[in-house]
Symmetry: C2
Subunit: 467 residues, 2 copies
C-alpha cells in the first residue's frame, strides 16, 4: 500500500479516475495488495456481461419451453455459477480467487497482479452482490407500483389468513414430523420447521408479472400474503433464535418487531396518501432530466433504508414506496421509466441467486448427503403441502385456491437465512442443514413452472410482450 | 470473523441475503470487523439518496439561473462532499469513518457496531465509486448512440487538428512558462505541462447534450477531438511517466498504445458495420424483457472491458459501442431505453466528482497554497488560451470556433490523473501539485457556463425538456 497511497491521496483528493496503475505500469508496485479501482470496474463489467448472457440465454430457452423466464435467470445463474462453469463466483471463506474465471481473465488480459487478486476478487464480489440487492429492491418497487393498494386492502383479511396458516401448517407438521419420524431433538426440529415458514416474495411476484396475473385477485392475495409472510418470517426467526440462544423468548423484541412493522406499513400508506399531492405538484415543476424516476427512487431508497434500519427488510420499504406512488396520477409514467432500470438490475439478483446455489448438496454420491436427502424429501413434501393447504383456506368461490397455495411455495433467500442462522448457532446438524438447503432449492426452482401450469390461460397481456 | 464466518458460509453457500446480523443481534459478534452486507446496502441506499438530492437541487437551481444542470451536479456534489457537509465522503488513507455522516447515521439508526465501521465505510465508498464509473460508462454509451458516425468521420481531420493543437499549445506554453517565468526545474515543468493537455469528454458532452448541440457541426468536432484527446492524453502520460522513471522514453510502449488505440477504434467500427445486421436480426427474435437494452449493454460492457484491458479507457469502449449501435435501425428505440438508466447512473458520476473535490487547496489563508495560487493563475490562463487557440485552427467559415475551443477546456478527472501520478513519482512539488489541482477544478467548473454562453441560441430541442 505504501507506494500507491500517495498517488491515491493525490488522485482521490479531488476527482477519482482509476486508470492510473494500468497506464503507468512503471509506477504500480508489484507487491501491491490493494484492489485497483480500474481493475474492479473491469471485473464488474465482465461479471455483468456473464450475468446478462446467462439471463438472456436462460430466459429465451425457458420462454420457448413455455416456462417462466425467471426460471431461466435462476438456471442460467446455476450454469455460470459455482456449481458448473465458475464464471461467476463470490469471495467467501474457503473460495480462492483462482477459482473465479473472471479473476483469471483479469490476470491474463488486463494485467491484474497475482498479489492483488484476492482484494480485487473481494471487491468485485461485493459490488455484484450489492448490485443484486439493488436489483431486488427495484423489483419490489416495481411490483408495488403495479399493485393496487385498494385491492390489497380488500383482500387483506384473506391474505392474512393465507399467511398465518401458511406459517403454522408447515411449521407444526415439519417440527412434529422431524421429532416423531426422524427422532430429531427438539431445538433442531423447531429450527428446520421455522425454515419451512418463509415465502420468497421476489420469485413469485416476478412470475405473476411475467404471466400477467399480478393484478388478478389471486395475484393480489399472494402478494399480500407474501408481504405479511415476510414480516412473520422475521418474527419467527427472532423467536427461534432467541429460544436457541437463551432457552427463552424475548417478548420485548418480538413486540418491537410486530409494532414497528405495523407502524411502518400503516404509517407509510397514510403519510403517502396525505403527502402525495404535494409530491406530484413538486415533481411537475422539475425541469432537469428524469424528474419522476429520480424522485421516485429517492422515496424508494429512503423507505428501503428505514425498512432495513428498523430491522425489517429493505425490500418491504421499496414495496411500500411503490404502493404509495402507484396510487398517484404519475403511476403510469413512472412505471414506464422504472422498466428499463428494472430490466438492467433485476436479472442481476436472480442470476446471482442461481450462481450462489451450490448443487453439491444434492449429490447422492456424497455419503453425508444421503441422510439429508431423505429428510429433505420429507421437508419438501411438507413445504409444498403446507402452503397449498394455506391456499385452500380461501372460502370465496371462483378463486383459484391451488394457484394461491402454489404461489406461496418458493422459500428463496429467506429460507436460507434460517439455515445460515441455524448452522451458526449450532442448532442444525450437518445433514439437517443440507436437508433445509435442498428444500429451499427445490421449492424455489419448482414453483415458477408449477405456477404457470395452475394459471392456465393468461387473462392479461403478459409482461414479456411489452418489452 | 470467526463467529460469523460459519453463518456466512452456510448462507452464501446457496443464496445470499444479508439481513442476518440485524435481525439476530444475539448472534452477531460485537468484535466483528467484517462489513455486514445488509449494512453496506443501507449505506449505499443513503448515499444514493444524498446524491440524487444534491443532483436535483443543484440541477434545478442551475437551470433556473440559465446554467447547465451538470454544473448543478458538480456544485451539489461539492456541497454534500468532503469540502462542506461531509454527507458523501470516501474511504481513503487519512479519512476516518467518523467523518462520514452516512456511517454515523448507520451507527445511530441501523445498529452498525463501531468495530465494523471502517470495513462498512470502505465497502460503501467502493460500491459508490464503482457505480459512478458505471455512470460515466453509460454516459459515453449514450453520447455514442446520439453521435453520428458519418459526421464524426466527416469532421475527423478537423477534429484531429483541434486535438493535436489542443495538446501541443498548452503543453509547450505551460512547460516553457514554468521554466522561464517560475524557474521550475525541467521534469516538474514537463509534468505540469502534460496535465494541461487533457480534455474531460464527459463534462463537455453532457453540456452539449443539455443545450441540444451535440449533433451540431461544432458538437461533433468537439466530441471527435475530445475522444482523440483522451487517447493522446494516455500517450502523453505514458511518455512523461517513463521519462520521469527512467529518464528515457519507452518507444515500444508508446507505439503499442498508438497502434492498439487505432486498431481498436477502426476495428470496432468495421466489425460493427459487418455484424450489426445479424445483431439486429437476433435481437428482434428475443422474447424476454428488455432485449434491446440488455443486448446493447452486453456490447457496451464487452467493449468497455476491452478498452480498459488494452490500457486505453473503458469509456472509449462504451463510446465506440454507442457509435456502432447508433448506426443501426434500433438506435431510436435503444436510446429511449438507455435514457432512464442514464438518468439513474450518470448523476452519480458527476456528484461523486464534486464530492471528492477538496476546495481546501483553494484557501489562500493556508500559506502553502499561496505560491500554488500564483502558479495556478498562470496554468489556468494557459489552460484556457491553449484550448481556445486549438478551436481557431478550424478554417471552415460559419463555424463557431470559440465554442469549439471552450468545449475543450474542462480537464476533469483526466487532469487529476497527471497530478496523482506526478505526486506519486515525486516529480511535482507540493505547490505545483496544488496548482495543477486548482487548474483542473477551475477549468472543469468554468467550462459548462461558458459553453452555454458561446452557443447563444439553442438550435435543437434541449435534452432536459425531453425527460
Amino acid at each position: 500500500m505504501a507506494q500507491f497511497s500517495i498517488a491515491s491521496i493525490a488522485l482521490t483528493q479531488v476527482f477519482g479516475h482509476p486508470f492510473i496503475s494500468k497506464t503507468i505500469p512503471l509506477l504500480a508496485a508489484s507487491t501491491e495488495a490493494e484492489a485497483d479501482e480500474g481493475l474492479v470496474v473491469a471485473g464488474v463489467l465482465l461479471s455483468l456481461v456473464v450475468i446478462y448472457f446467462a439471463s438472456k440465454l436462460g430466459g429465451e430457452v425457458c420462454i420457448r419451453l413455455n416456462l417462466p423466464p425467471v426460471l431461466g435467470d435462476l438456471v442460467g445463474g446455476v450454469v455460470v455459477g459455482v456449481s458448473v462453469l465458475k464464471l461467476l463466483v463470490f469471495a467467501e471463506p474457503g473460495v480462492l480467487p483462482e477459482s473465479s474465471v473472471v479473476i483469471n481473465l483479469l490476470q491474463s488480459t488486463a494485467g491484474l497482479e497475482p498479489a492483488a487478486a484476492a482484494a480485487t476478487f473481494h471487491s468485485q464480489s461485493e459490488v455484484i452482490s450489492i448490485l443484486s440487492e439493488l436489483g431486488v429492491i427495484i423489483l419490489l418497487f416495481e411490483i408495488g407500483l403495479e399493485s393496487e393498494l385498494k385491492e390489497l386492502i380488500k383482500y387483506g383479511p384473506q391474505a392474512a389468513i393465507v399467511a398465518v396458516v401458511g406459517v403454522i401448517a408447515p411449521f407444526a407438521t415439519g417440527t412434529l414430523g422431524l421429532i416423531y419420524l426422524f427422532n430429531s431433538p427438539l431445538i433442531p426440529a423447531i429450527f428446520a420447521g421455522a425454515a419451512l415458514t418463509a415465502t420468497s416474495i421476489g420469485i413469485t411476484a416476478k412470475v405473476l408479472a411475467e404471466i400477467g396475473r399480478l393484478t388478478s385477485k389471486e395475484g393480489q392475495i399472494i402478494i399480500g400474503a407474501a408481504v405479511l409472510d415476510d414480516i412473520l418470517g422475521i418474527i419467527v426467526l427472532a423467536v427461534v433464535a432467541s429460544l436457541v440462544k437463551t432457552g427463552d423468548v424475548e417478548v420485548s423484541n418480538i413486540l418491537y418487531l410486530i409494532v414497528s412493522a405495523g407502524v411502518f406499513l400503516v404509517g407509510v400508506i397514510l403519510l403517502g396518501r396525505f403527502l402525495s399531492p404535494y409530491y406530484v405538484a413538486l415533481v411537475r415543476n422539475l425541469k432537469t432530466r428524469g424528474p419522476l424516476l429520480i424522485s421516485g427512487l429517492i422515496i424508494a431508497f429512503i423507505l428501503s433504508y428505514i425498512g432495513a434500519a428498523i430491522q425489517l427488510e429493505a425490500i418491504l420499504g421499496a414495496f411500500a414506496a411503490g404502493l404509495v406512488l402507484g396510487e398517484t396520477e404519475i403511476q403510469q409514467e413512472l412505471e414506464e421509466q422504472v422498466i428499463p432500470v428494472a430490466d438492467m438490475l433485476v436479472p442481476i439478483f436472480f442470476v446471482v441467486v442461481g450462481a450462489k446455489t451450490d448443487l453439491g448438496v444434492l449429490n447422492p454420491a456424497v455419503p453425508s448427503n444421503r441422510e439429508g436427502l431423505i429428510i429433505a424429501a420429507f421437508l419438501i413434501l411438507v413445504a409444498i403441502v403446507g402452503k397449498v393447504i394455506a391456499g385452500f383456506t380461501i372460502l370465496q368461490p371462483n378463486t383459484n385456491r391451488l394457484a394461491i397455495g402454489i404461489g406461496m411455495i418458493p422459500r428463496g433467500e429467506v429460507g436460507l437465512v434460517f439455515a445460515g442462522v441455524g448452522a451458526a448457532s449450532g442448532a442444525l446438524s450437518e445433514s439437517l442443514q443440507a436437508a433445509v438447503i435442498m428444500m429451499v432449492i427445490l421449492t424455489t426452482f419448482v414453483a415458477p413452472p408449477l405456477l404457470r401450469v395452475v394459471f392456465k390461460e393468461p387473462e392479461a397481456e403478459p409482461e414479456e410482450a411489452t418489452g
